[in-house]
Structure formats: structure tokens, C-alpha cells
Symmetry: C2
Subunit: 333 residues, 2 copies
């Protein structure tokens, strides 16, 4: 059995109160002698406070929950690292929860986290979630929304990329490079980020006077990109530029295009969104709209911990600027 505060206290000939205060740096008025004695004893006996017991009284676990759709989706690991690095730096641990974009799993996980009494949650809601989050118990702990916006009791802040502007710049880039007829292969058009990207797309269209809005709605997955191109071609649609809802879609798009004998970027220009790791490994390397994922995760954790520590987050909502990364899947012509 591990050594307890009581035993340390007995050995040092002081009360547990004294030891407790020393542990928690509240030893303002404890004599240096006592302090040293206790500290030594603690070293010597390898004393480690029992966090469970502590949490029981303090109601703080120094653990946060990270709820995301799927860590095997290359979009999320960087966010997760951002979150974890910051959390760890502040002495927090993070419990990961993969929801597979299923609202029911979201609900279950949130409940688990609440039971585990995490101090706060960083939540990326399912891209299919449209309605607000009706949680069974009242969430009293702070929640920071990442990337997706939904209604949720206890929300303290939202962190998103500037999807509208990012998309606008991506599409504008295609036009500026001389592509004439741009289609938008989108993810589910039910949530804010998707809708915002759509807005950005339309804005660019208007500016460059493309008459018809060419949008195909599907999932944020490789397969959807692949399939969408086939569809486009099957129905004889004319196009020479594709703006993709995310990089995963772009991967499928490029693959499909190649199969159809279309050259990228000569015949068709392709722009993605996110700049996942893989984007630069494609052939051709993918031109894409970069979201600062690691930084967003980092900031989210920072804000969450601020709130937990009683500070109100400085900017309640944060919108991160995107950046157009021009690689080889678009070409001036």
C-alpha cells in the first residue's frame, strides 16, 4: 500500500493539516524547520498524494475530455496534439472520445465524462448534428466548441477557422489561375462550417461571374470525392476546377480524375481544405486552404483551462485565419 499523508504526519510529529498545507504550497506560516522536515520525509518515502481523495474534496480532477469524431481521420490528430500539449503543460490529462460522428455516442461519452468529473470538455460535434445538444444532466462544467458550432448548455467559447473567407480565397485562387467553371464538392451541408464554405464559394462565383452554382453534397470522405467526380462526368457536366469541402474529398477527387484520364492541374485544377499532413504527399501535391489545427487545439485547451481556473476566456469566440497554400494541383494558365 502506498504511504499516506497521515503516516508522513505521524513521522514528522505534526498534524495532517500541516502536511497538507505544505503539499499545496499554502505553507505561508509554517516554520522552515517543519517544512523541511516534512518535505524530506516525503522525498524519502516517495510520497504521492492520492488524487482521488483530493478530488473528492476539491471537486477538481485535472482531467479534461476531448470529444472528436474520429482520431483516424487525419484532420484530428493535430488538433488533439495541440490540446494535449497544452493540457499536459498545465498539469492536465486528456481523455479522448471518438464518436464516429454518431450523436448517440456523443451523448454517451459526454455522460461518461461528466461522471468521471472531468473539469471541462473540448467538443467537436458530429458534422451531421444539426439540432442542439440535449444532454440529460445539466452540464455544469465548461465546454469549448472546436470547429463546429452547436447549441449546448455550458458553452464557454467557440473556436473555428474562418471557413467563409478560406473557401472564398480558395475558389478565387482557381479563378485567378484561369480556371473558368468551378464545382464545389461539399460535405454535408447541414452545419455551420460547411455552410460557410458554401457561402465563400458563392461569393467568389459572384465576383468572377460564374452563373451556375455547381455543388454536390456528400460526406467528408475520400470515397465521396471519388464518386462525385464520376457523377459529374456521367452527367456530362462541364468543369475545369474543383473546390473540395476538405482534403480527404480532394484525395478521392484527384484519384478519380486521374482514372478518367484528366490531368491535374492541366485539365482540372483542384483545391482542398484543411491542409492535412497527407496533402503534400499527394501527386500532384495539393493546393489547399490551411487551417491552423494544432494551434486551434492548443488555444482551445488554453481557454478551457483558463475558464476552469476561474478566469473568463478573453475573446469568447475565436476565429482563426486560414491560409492558402499553393502547391501543384493548380497551375496558372
Amino acid at each position: 500500500m502506498k504511504i499516506t499523508i497521515k503516516e508522513i504526519a505521524k513521522m514528522a510529529g505534526v498534524s495532517t493539516t500541516t502536511v497538507s498545507m505544505i503539499i499545496n504550497n499554502k505553507a505561508g506560516n509554517i516554520s522552515q524547520g517543519t517544512k523541511d522536515r516534512v518535505l524530506n520525509l516525503m522525498k524519502e518515502h516517495n510520497y504521492v498524494p492520492n488524487v482521488m481523495a483530493r478530488s473528492l474534496v476539491t471537486k477538481k480532477t485535472h482531467t479534461i475530455g476531448l470529444v472528436i469524431p474520429d482520431i483516424t481521420n487525419p484532420f484530428f490528430p493535430e488538433i488533439a496534439r495541440g490540446v494535449e500539449d497544452k493540457a499536459n503543460q498545465e498539469g492536465y490529462n486528456v481523455i479522448y472520445c471518438n464518436t464516429d460522428d454518431r450523436t448517440i455516442k456523443e451523448e454517451r461519452y459526454i455522460e461518461m465524462l461528466l461522471e468521471k468529473m472531468v473539469d471541462g470538455i473540448i467538443f467537436t460535434a458530429s458534422s451531421k448534428r444539426i439540432e442542439g445538444f440535449k444532454n440529460p444532466m445539466n452540464v455544469k462544467i465548461p465546454v469549448i466548441l472546436m470547429d463546429r458550432e452547436i447549441e449546448f448548455a455550458g458553452i464557454k467559447a467557440k473556436i473555428t477557422g474562418n471557413n467563409r473567407l478560406g473557401a472564398y480565397e480558395g475558389v478565387k485562387h482557381l479563378f485567378e489561375y484561369g480556371y473558368k467553371r468551378i464545382v464545389f464538392i461539399s460535405g454535408p451541408l447541414v452545419n455551420k462550417p460547411s455552410l460557410d464554405r458554401f457561402e465563400g464559394y458563392k461569393k467568389a462565383l459572384k465576383e468572377f461571374q460564374q452563373q451556375s452554382i455547381l455543388v454536390l453534397e456528400g460526406d467528408y470522405k475520400i470515397d465521396w470525392g471519388y464518386e462525385a467526380v464520376k457523377k459529374l462526368i456521367a452527367r456530362g457536366e462541364a468543369f475545369d476546377g474543383i473546390f473540395c469541402g476538405n482534403d480527404l474529398i480532394a484525395v478521392g477527387v484527384i484519384k478519380s480524375l486521374k482514372e478518367e484520364g484528366l490531368r491535374v492541374p492541366e485539365d482540372v485544377g483542384v483545391v482542398g481544405f484543411d491542409d492535412i499532413y497527407m496533402a503534400r504527399l499527394l501527386d500532384p501535391e495539393l493546393t489547399t486552404v490551411r487551417q491552423p489545427n494544432y494551434e486551434m487545439g492548443h488555444r482551445a485547451a488554453e481557454m478551457l483551462i483558463d475558464v476552469i481556473s476561474g478566469k473568463e476566456p478573453d475573446p469568447k469566440d475565436m476565429v482563426f485565419d486560414t491560409e492558402l497554400i499553393i502547391r501543384k494541383s493548380t497551375k496558372e494558365r
Copy 2:
């Protein structure tokens, strides 16, 4: 404040013991009437047991730790999902710890996990760790080793792929397809998996009578693969096949080869190891030795939870068969 067992007990007119037993399904001999009454009260008042208090007495947190080098390395998310899915299914949560292959971070994280009193740990040690793990406190909780083998107090089992056989088959495949001179671009040759792959490589060499062992040692990273090829060419080495320590290396290798004007698979055949998600997205799609990562993670969690629950793991060590996945980076000739 949340409602407690005491209040439920009072409302139901029974003792907390009774309520506790009902909560924990130990209500063998509690009258149906009482049971129903209590259960209803619990529903009605949205009672949720305080896990902290419970853990304090049971010494079980229903949380496990997952210590891996880096979740942004595409090798790990699948393992992590395997672990998490199983854990979740059994009512466990998992705390992720990214160590960046730094032994010092490993030690810190393990300490944190111990303090948090996780019930067990799944540990993928740094690929640079050669010495055993000297942990400050004695690890009394079960530890399952994934992928890497090291010495560590409290180890209950090891889960690895069959690296030797996998590598052997990968290299053999190159020879069988008619490639003559195979070089091995390896990760750090200090740990068991790397060494085993090296063994497999050598075994195939012997079998197919390639005289010289051509091995380059570096990191399991894209950059290293890229650089290794440049080196090979700079020093005028003759080769027509490359067996890569992992897929990441293969990504760099292919990129570098293309830059040098060498065609894959016509001029040079390339085989990877792991079959990460990205492998099939490369151009050409990568022939590789698949490790069943998701399954390995899943099994690791299962074994860990078995041990935690008092059962000894059935096979103390498990070696998973690899599978050669032939795609387009090798070609019969």
C-alpha cells in the same frame, strides 16, 4: 450540487447500503419492491454516483492510460482506436499520452498516470529506448507492451507483429518479382522490431543469394526515406529494390526516386511496412507488409482489462501475423 446516495436512501426510507447494493447489482436479496422504489427515485432525481468517492474505496478508476510516441504519426491512430473501442465497450475511458519518442516524457507521463490511479497502461515505448524502464515508483498496475519490447516492472504481456517474418516476406516478394539487388532503409536499429525486420531482410538475402547486405539506418520518418535515396545515389550504389523500415520511409523513398527520374515500379521496386492509411493513396499505391494495428490495439485493451479484472491473460505474449499487400509499387518482371 448533485444528489447523493444518502439523499436517495433517505427518500426511499432505506439505508445507503441498500441503495449502494442496488446500484452495483449486488441486490441479490433485496425485495423487488424496495429495488423498484429506489430505482425510480434514482431515475427521477437523475442520480449519478460519484465515481471519485467510489474509486476512493474500490481503488478502481475504470480508466486506462495509452502511452504512445505521437498520435500525429499515422501509425498510431488505428491502434488507438482499437484500444479505445474495446475500452469503451467495457466501460473504460482512456487517457492518451504522447511522448514524442522522448524517454523523459515517457517517465513523466507514467508518473502522472500512476498518480491518477489508472487501472492499467498500454505502452508503446520510444523506438530509441534501449535500456529498460527505470520508473521511480514501483509500478504495481498491469502494463501491456505494444509493438515495442522493453524491460519494465509490472509487464503483463507483449503484443507485437511478426516483424521478422513480415520483413522476410516483403523482401522475398521483391526477389520473386525479379528485383535483384535489394537495399534496406531502416529505422533506428536499436529496438526489437527494427532488429527483427533486419533479420528478416537478411534471411531473404541469404535465401536468394544476394551477397551484400545493404542497410541504411535512420529514423522512421518521411524525410529519412527521402534522404536515404539521395545518399544511395550519391555514392553510386547499385540497387533495383528497396525494402523500407516502415511506410513513412517508403513515402519519402518514392518521392525521392521520382525526383531522381527513377520509375517505380519499373526501375525500382518499393515495399513498405505497416500499411498505414496513406499507403494506398500514394502514386503508385504502395506494396507493403500489413500489421493489423486496429486489432492489435483492440486485443491489447482486451488483455489489459482481463488482467485488471483478475483474469490472467490467456497467451501472455501475442505475435500477430503480418500480411503482404501487393499493390503497385512492385511489379513482376
